[in-house]
């Protein structure tokens, strides 16, 4: 990356490298590069280079490079950094003196490789455009179909909808309502809404400039970037999203006709509408700091009550209560994942909660919300609002501590934050699965025991 030559840069050169390499164009018109020792005089703004046995041109532009790696056997190397300086050399008693006029640097401790690779995406596009023009055919980057689908849809995030659908179905099953094929249809319907949302989110984030402004995406944040990378066009993604929504609406309509039209229609319409309004103008809920509420509602009460209704053709207070901690924990996944996106989101006018709040407020809100979620689970299990084995879900609570520690220690380091973001996803998934396990234990006890003890009911 281009940078100015100042005392700070010269001090870094003085401390960070073992030798210099002088590169120049020789008499034959070929570049020639030769290593030598150097000293830096920051007060004069010059680099002193020892003489080399080559016809180094004085008074002409040369390139002086300082480069470092640390070998790592069985891996390769790390600690990559370099400084490249341009200027003309003047002769001295011991060799040459460079007064650099221009510099280019990279140090992976300051700009991690993944961020560096994001900053140079426009260079890749410029290259492909130029290559396409030369070869007279459109050349695009490629990924195999499976990888591209995985990336474009962000398929691994489907765990977010497995929890509410599974839990809603389990609560219905406790009352004796269980139809496996309806469960599968509900699961597919919810999955298609979720995939439609993921893909639509990318379309709108590309249009708003939020993805381009984000130079530190992680596997949990920053979108799929398939449009930004040129792997798919915006039109292709819009069609894909429309296809997912159409499939979801088709399944939803079938279930509504078969199981209860108006309740399921309202739940379905609400779910689809919220997912579209999440990033689509004019609502753009996530831009207004309402993304967490939208995601919590969609992946909490709407999906959970919908799944219960499909099975039991009624909703219960128990399911409504169970959906609250599920909603809180999925909203917290989004909330934590927005932390590394803050600079890019702010630049694109996407005023998420972490953009609006201070670090202290973000972490305090996270802690409070986790406590509320687990407090509700504990209170529900003890009071009998939920089945008692649902208390098992508290086993997942330590993951919340891991996220909290990560937010405290790596708030401004997107890549160091990644394990904590992963823990946040696991916190939601593990808690949800343990809640489901709690219900399955209760169902098994109800079906197999003449007298169900209180702690299993």
């Amino acid at each position: 990356m281009s940078t100015t030559v100042d005392e700070t840069l010269l001090r870094r050169i003085e401390e960070g490298f073992s030798h210099a390499v002088i590169a120049f164009v020789d008499h034959d018109g070929y570049p020639l590069s030769v290593a030598t020792s150097y000293r830096v005089d920051p007060s004069r703004g010059v680099i002193e280079l020892d003489v080399v046995a080559a016809d180094v041109p004085l008074g002409r532009q040369v390139n002086v490079v300082f480069s470092h790696i640390r070998p790592q056997p069985s891996v390769g190397y790390d600690e990559r950094r370099y400084v490249s300086l341009w200027g003309s050399l003047s002769g001295t008693a011991s060799g040459y003196e460079l007064r650099p006029g221009r510099a280019q640097t990279w140090d992976e401790r300051e700009v991690p490789f993944f961020q560096y690779s994001e900053l140079t995406v426009p260079q890749a596009h410029a290259y492909l455009e130029e290559l396409s023009a030369r070869q007279d055919r459109r050349i695009r980057p490629k990924l195999s179909g499976g990888w591209l689908f995985l990336r474009a849809t962000r398929l691994p995030f489907l765990s977010a909808m497995v929890v509410p659908v599974g839990l809603g179905t389990a609560i219905a099953a406790l009352d004796g309502a269980w139809h496996w094929w309806l469960f599968l249809l509900t699961l597919f319907g919810a999955a298609f809404v979720h995939l439609g949302l993921n893909v639509a989110n990318d379309v709108f984030d590309t249009m708003s400039g939020a993805d381009a402004a984000n130079t530190t995406p992680t596997q949990f944040s920053g979108g799929s970037r398939v449009i930004l990378y040129g792997l798919m066009s915006r039109r292709q993604m819009a069609l894909l999203s429309t296809g997912f929504y159409a499939a979801a609406i088709g399944i939803g309509l079938f279930l509504a006709v078969d199981r209860g039209f108006w309740p399921l229609l309202w739940l379905g319409v609400s779910g689809v509408a919220i997912s579209i309004a999440y990033t689509a103008p004019p609502f753009r809920l996530v831009h207004r700091g309402l993304g967490e509420v939208a995601v919590g509602a969609g992946f909490g009460p709407i999906m959970l009550l919908g799944a219960q209704y499909v099975q039991a053709q009624r909703v219960t207070w128990e399911a409504g209560f169970a959906s609250i901690p599920v909603a809180i924990l999925i909203a917290l996944v989004l909330y934590a994942n927005e932390v590394p996106d803050r600079p890019g989101d702010a630049a694109a006018g996407k005023r998420t909660l972490p953009v609006r709040l201070s670090k202290h407020a973000v972490i305090l809100s996270y802690e409070t919300a986790v406590l509320v979620a687990f407090g509700l689970i504990a209170g529900g299990a003890i009071s009998g609002l939920l089945v008692r084995p649902a208390i098992l879900a508290l086993l997942a609570a330590p993951l919340g501590l891991k996220v909290r520690r990560g937010l405290r220690e790596n708030y401004d380091d997107p890549y160091a934050l990644m394990p904590s973001l992963g823990a946040g996803v696991n916190l939601h998934l593990s808690t949800g699965l343990l809640l489901i396990v709690g219900y399955v234990i209760s169902i098994a006890a109800t079906h197999n025991m003449a007298h169900v003890p209180l702690y299993l009911h």
């Binding site: 570049p31 046995a53 690779s117």
Partner: protein, 160 residues
């Protein structure tokens, strides 16, 4: 016996980083730290299209040089000498998705973690769209003991 003296070949095979210098449109040298690869006849470097400015420079002027200057940048013993090789570069741009794959085994030998990153190329797809740069060596300059203040041995390389 390859295209270059054995002692230079051993250095090329062991070195983890080289300074690869091209000439820009204003006739100025521009140097990039890169992994040098050698197959016994020709030298190779390769560049992601994310870092593709050097490719335009090579297309306009294929004269390049590659110097191995850091004796400690190896996985084994320190390098005994410093080497600079001048040559003519050729770009392989027919299929930036596949064409560079032939040097993948050489790359993995120097940077084994590439195997894992390549398996997970979905994470950074543009990085794996790459251009292979083949360098036909023309002249090798060989500084005994790394002493660049003393005249180098110069080897003119017969074209392979």
């Amino acid at each position: 016996m390859g295209a270059l003296p054995e002692e230079i070949e051993r250095i090329l095979e062991a070195a983890l980083v080289a300074e690869f210098t091209v000439i820009d449109e204003r006739d100025r040298p521009v140097t990039h730290p890169m992994i040098p690869l050698y197959d016994g006849e020709k030298l190779y470097v390769h560049s992601s299209i994310l870092f593709s400015k050097k490719l335009a420079h090579i297309r306009a002027n294929p004269r390049v040089s590659l110097s191995i200057s850091d004796p400690t940048a190896t996985h084994g013993d320190p390098l005994p000498h410093r080497v600079t090789i001048q040559g003519d570069a050729r770009l392989f741009e027919g299929d930036v998705h596949q064409e560079w794959h032939r040097i993948l085994p050489l790359w993995k030998k120097k940077e084994p973690i590439v195997e894992m990153f390549y398996a997970k190329r979905v994470a950074l797809p543009l990085f794996w769209e790459r251009v292979l740069v083949e360098i036909q060596p023309r002249r090798a300059l060989w500084w005994q003991g790394g002493r660049t203040d003393l005249p180098p041995q110069v080897v003119e390389v017969a074209r392979v």
